[in-house]
Symmetry: C2
Subunit: 267 residues, 2 copies
């Protein structure tokens, strides 16, 4: 039958599209990918709203174990729900590919992603360069890729959206070493911590793109009813309490007049 | 009252989110922006589906004449519908800004945009550089900006999404000179014509990034039920009939293994 890969949008269950909801209602199995984002509705709330039982699945199942998803999809309609849009994470492309190879029909139902919703800040989508990801600096491992991307974008006058690391339901390295596969509680990199990491890399690289007096835009829960957008100096933004995750950082490039005017709203 | 700025998504009226539909149903006036994209449902079909009368408005009204939208929004709920997501076009940021300045509450309801839906091709969103726009080469005026962007992205190993020009309901230059404001029929730049324009610029610039044997991905009506994705050499893609608009072009950068595998599906 059909594998429906459905984007849930950024806020809560009411952000689903009618096409997505209709598809879910035809499905015998509904899976929710729960490791690349967080959502304003719980599994239980979605079950009531969508009128379907939902099975949450982690990375290990999506990446390695087809049985739950693809075996069912051979004979029945299956929904695979993803917060935001469908193909934010590589593993979902992989699932799509494996389904196609097994001759399963796949229908993608798109929805909003932070990649486009970030334009609500007033910064033009056409003036964003490549997206950066800032990861937890555990074990003092400090990848400089996000800094390189910001630098490259800045040179071209472009804005950079920095997504912040999520660790959901993954076992700790210590437990893994011991062979214990017990998932740790979810962790979300905060705006404050993300900026701290960028400052640490700046100390090393000294390209003068990150400093206390530079303009930064902080966003939290973007695309939901509880979104916060705040523009200010890095120092101001680091002091601001953005509340619950998800947070993201935007490092602006050159600004047009209308972009400047829009940012004034968030100061 | 409230100005609801609502993304309609990429396909047809059933791509609206429940949040968007609920908002429309509370509105006294519903405006549809009709000059930056096209949609799988007509105004009349949307009126039946949304159970509301819809007024189509052109660029001149959104950009200059607040009366229709903002005057109503002071005392009543007004919906402003945009195909795709809300802030693809600068003029919508401008409307948002003017509403805010007049003390009108603005609620944005996001939806999918080609900017994120392009990931259905299998190309990773994280590996796209800045978006390019290819415009009609009327009057032999040939802006090289899209070529510059592709070149810059290629140097960084990144993919480029090239959006193709839309001319809807604009008067011809000749008529404008005569003072006649009669709108011409809508025109949409086709994939074929867009690639031809890139080849023309290549002839001039000779950076060897565009040629008949280079890999190109063509997409039509992306995010709708009638989408086409086709990967092949530029020569192959130029021969292929993609049908009705909208079309877009993707010029890939370096490809990861899973991206290569995905592109095989569209060959």
């Amino acid at each position: 039958m059909t594998l429906f890969m459905i984007g849930l949008g950024l806020g809560d269950a009411r952000d689903i599209t009618l096409k997505g909801l209709d598809a879910i209602r035809t499905c015998d199995y509904v899976f929710l990918e729960n490791y690349t984002s967080i959502y304003g509705s719980s599994k239980e709330e979605m079950e009531i709203f969508f009128e379907k039982e939902i099975v949450e699945i982690g990375r290990n199942i999506v990446e390695s174990d087809d049985a739950q998803i693809l075996e069912h999809a051979k004979n029945e309609n299956v929904a695979f729900l993803v917060i935001g849009d469908v193909f934010g994470a590589t593993t979902h492309t992989d699932l799509f590919l494996r389904a196609k190879k097994q001759g399963i029909e796949v229908v993608v139902v798109n929805n909003a992603s932070i990649i486009n919703a970030v334009s609500v800040t007033g910064l033009e989508l056409y003036r964003f360069g490549r997206v950066a990801s800032i990861v937890f600096d555990d074990d003092d491992w400090l990848p400089e890729t996000p800094y390189d991307i910001i630098l490259e974008n800045k040179k071209n006058g472009l804005h950079t959206l920095c997504l912040l690391d999520i660790k959901t339901a993954e076992p700790s390295k210590e437990n893994l070493r011991k062979g214990i596969n017990k998932p740790e509680p979810a962790r979300f990199l905060s705006l404050n911590k993300g900026l701290e990491i960028l400052k640490k890399i700046e100390q090393k690289r000294d390209e003068k793109i990150i400093s206390d007096d530079k303009l930064v835009i902080g966003v939290a829960r973007l695309g939901s009813e509880h979104q916060i957008i705040k523009a200010g100096t890095l120092k101001e933004i680091m002091k601001f309490d953005f509340g619950k995750p998800l947070h993201s950082i935007i490092i602006p490039g050159n600004l047009h007049d209308i972009e400047k005017e829009m940012l004034e709203l968030w100061k």
